[in-house]
Symmetry: C2
DNA sequence: CGCCATGTGGAGAGAATTTCTCCGCATGGC
DNA sequence: GCCATGCGGAGAAATTCTCTCCACATGGCG
């Protein structure tokens, strides 16, 4: 992220290492809140950030300050992605698709909903460069006008599903399969939004293909290694899971 | 649930009120584990079950006993639904669809994955009437043979998505919108699994249609009422969310 | 109807976890 | 090279959760 989320002119200039630590803390906080929820222990965040607990408290005296910081960071990235996607002139459906995959990577579903409610709307929204809702809705309307998405689909159908898909499978521990699988699932879901009579895609499904055997291995591993949920991709056949190639596939088949 | 999950001949016959309390505890435990995860405080479970904490400890001396009890209960219901679905001769796709909506209602995604890993496989699987994997996979194969699901879909594509869709939106508090929306999302997802060249459904999307305005209201409510996530269905337009009608729609359009 | 084995509730001690401060030491920047 | 700014970690205080004990209640049987 190149945006430094400048705190404005009121904040005294932070020393270089302090600024670096602040960013590490926010990154760690986003990870930990994603995995464990907004009440996760602060030591864990400090540990993952590689700083002492005192440093964390110095920079974010109350837990809510951390919540706010993470929310601002994630929302800023989200709004940037939305505006960039909306600026694409030609293919609204493809732009929307790419935006949704980005939102999935941001894991907004794991972070935001549990943080909202911890501060008032004004607190956060004031520091943000706009809102993601309008550009995304504009994309949806355009994609529908282009006949690429069925007309009775509404805004919540493309946004609220991201919240669910972006949450890690419960049981602790993020897994590489998890993330790639979410993108595969999103692709299937987006296929389901096409309008009546539109041609079905012939693109093979990307990402991990979990067949019965792989499923049973995953399950066994979950049961036996207590909390060994960090199953890696070794166990399932991979087609492809990079976003670029994914979107390229879509374009080739679809445009 | 009519199955009483009889503990076998070893257990001394429980007094009538004790048996009732035991069921209340299991029901409450399922709810609380669903909402808060497997480490949720036990007082909360006792409170929701309407019993004292001592009663809970008497029936389930260790936390894992509670985990096991809930897992057995949910898995038994799941296996029953799977076998019932697989027994339907004519329309495998419809049966699969109905089963997945049932699994969603069971909220297996919220309960099971976080409980697995808390006990060994044998502990639980011994008490179960089989396994849900085989009948469900058989359904999938049959639906593919009938040309109703694209052939490169694998078992994990229809099961793992349930785990994500059945988790409540984070931020505490279950919401009526949540549950109905998950079914709507599942329907869209299932549409995405149809094979190339199959006709698109003309069925209107059921469940809550969250348009931009409704979305903003939901968001506002989340932010302002700290943890007031129990948004009710009043704010979004409802088409229909009963499973029967949903499946009936599918059949009318699809068969 | 009445007895008693079985079951119940809740207070509270004890354990575990988490919060948050204090102070001696390190280091970036002029 | 100086010093304002920043750092780390120990540990006290607070909070939360666990689990037992015992006086009281009640279902089931004769």
């Amino acid at each position: 992220m190149s945006a430094d989320t400048d705190d404005g002119p009121t904040a005294s200039p932070l020393r270089a290492d302090a600024r670096r630590n602040r960013e590490q803390i926010l990154r760690a906080a986003r990870e930990v809140f994603t995995d464990q929820g907004p009440d996760a222990p602060l030591d864990e965040i400090a540990r993952r950030a590689g700083v002492g607990i005192a440093t964390l408290y110095r920079r974010f005296p109350r837990r809510d300050d951390l919540h706010r910081g993470v929310a601002v960071e994630v929302l800023t990235a989200l709004i940037g992605a939305a505006n960039r996607a909306a600026a694409e002139e030609d293919d609204a459906c493809l732009a929307l698709r790419r935006f949704l995959h980005t939102a999935l990577d941001l894991k907004i579903g794991s972070v935001l909903p549990s943080l909202l409610g911890r501060f008032t709307a004004d607190d956060v929204l004031d520091g943000l460069p706009g809102d993601a809702v309008e550009p995304v809705d504009a994309l949806l309307v355009r994609a529908q006008a282009q006949g690429r998405i069925r007309p009775d689909v509404v805004f919540g159908d493309i946004t609220l599903v991201i919240i669910r898909l972006s949450r890690p499978l419960p049981g602790g521990g993020r897994s590489a399969v998890d993330d790639a699988l979410a993108h595969r699932q999103l692709d299937v879901y987006l296929d389901g939004l096409r309008p009546t009579g539109s041609p079905r895609p012939t693109t093979p499904l990307g990402g991990p293909a979990v067949d019965v055997e792989a499923f049973k291995r995953l399950r066994e591993r979950l049961i036996d290694d207590a909390y060994g949920a960090r199953a890696d991709a070794d166990d399932v056949s991979h087609d492809d899971s990079r976003a670029d190639a994914r979107v390229a596939d879509v374009r080739a088949d679809d445009g």
